[in-house]
Symmetry: C2
Subunit: 184 residues, 2 copies
Amino acid sequence: MTSVHTGSRARTRQAILDAAIEVLARNPAASLGDVAEAADVGRTTLHRYFPERGELLTALRAEATARLDRAAVRARIDEGPGATALARLCQEYFDLGDVLSLLFLEQVTFEGEEGGCDEGFDAMVRRGHADGSIDPELPPVWVQNLLWSQLYAGWNYLAEHGASRHDTLRLVLRCVSGAVRPHP
Amino acid sequence: MTSVHTGSRARTRQAILDAAIEVLARNPAASLGDVAEAADVGRTTLHRYFPERGELLTALRAEATARLDRAAVRARIDEGPGATALARLCQEYFDLGDVLSLLFLEQVTFEGEEGGCDEGFDAMVRRGHADGSIDPELPPVWVQNLLWSQLYAGWNYLAEHGASRHDTLRLVLRCVSGAVRPHP
DNA sequence: CCATAGTGGAACACTGCTGTTCCGTTCTGG
DNA sequence: CCAGAACGGAACAGCAGTGTTCCACTATGG
């Protein structure tokens, strides 16, 4: 099935994943019918790709974390001062939009995904501790929580008030960097 | 238990509300059976007090916002510099625990509760703008979002990692005040 | 003591979602 | 053009949560 000819299966599968991210991000309790409809696909077809709901969610997490990893690469989190790298990552994550809130909401429901936090993220924060750009009293996991909740707040602000994407990003960046900056 | 004639109805009702806050905060999709069980009450009795699920949720929001208001009073948000008052409010909110995350999660699902933010909160932030303790570029609604998401992150940190209540509160306070502090 | 309010359990119908099967239609490559 | 893959719709059973009814069981105060 996979092999040389991508066929239309890959496209359909991707369409379903994209739609699922969008729909489930806005309403984690959405039905499979809603997802299928959003993907312009029959519910039967959806079941053909993901026989059970859990399999869809698993594939969804995989897709989301893949996008997250790509964002981390783009942000070059292993370069420059810790706080600067964090700001770049923040911006990249911000652009992920729905993916972010999906993971954020699922983190609540389906906890226990990871014990600590990303490899590179941890290193970035420690680098920030060393170069004095991130308060050493803030553990990496805490900074990660901080970043995520801040991004979610921004996404929420964007959705419920008529704020522009650009302004919201500015606010998020300002507050994140302000929060991690060492005390004077 | 309470006053002269209140009967046991008031007690039972309160027990249901308390249990509902606790259960629904941890799992917003919990069934009424779960709530009844947590309240040590038959499902029939629960339906006697709240005939439909929506009525329970409404009463729950009322209860939660009442506790929120009381916390705001205790924090004396109309006294002292804006940032200091914000810190006091942050601490009081932190102590609310489950109530907070319940409202936070419901804010997601049942949006459209309020157009802006609290009366007193708005005044507090503006006072902070004026006295230079809160960055004037941060709108009150944003600060409110910031505070809530930060508290939720703290609650999450507390639940998933073995952090102590005291340390977590310190981290939250540090990050909130750092985030709203004007740039140097 | 006994009438009554408060309660809990069992049973029921109803609803919405899920997972599955079957079949007819449409698209596509050889 | 034609065979096979991909798709969509309809129908079905199963399941869980909900809302309701009915009845039996405690308490408690008058």
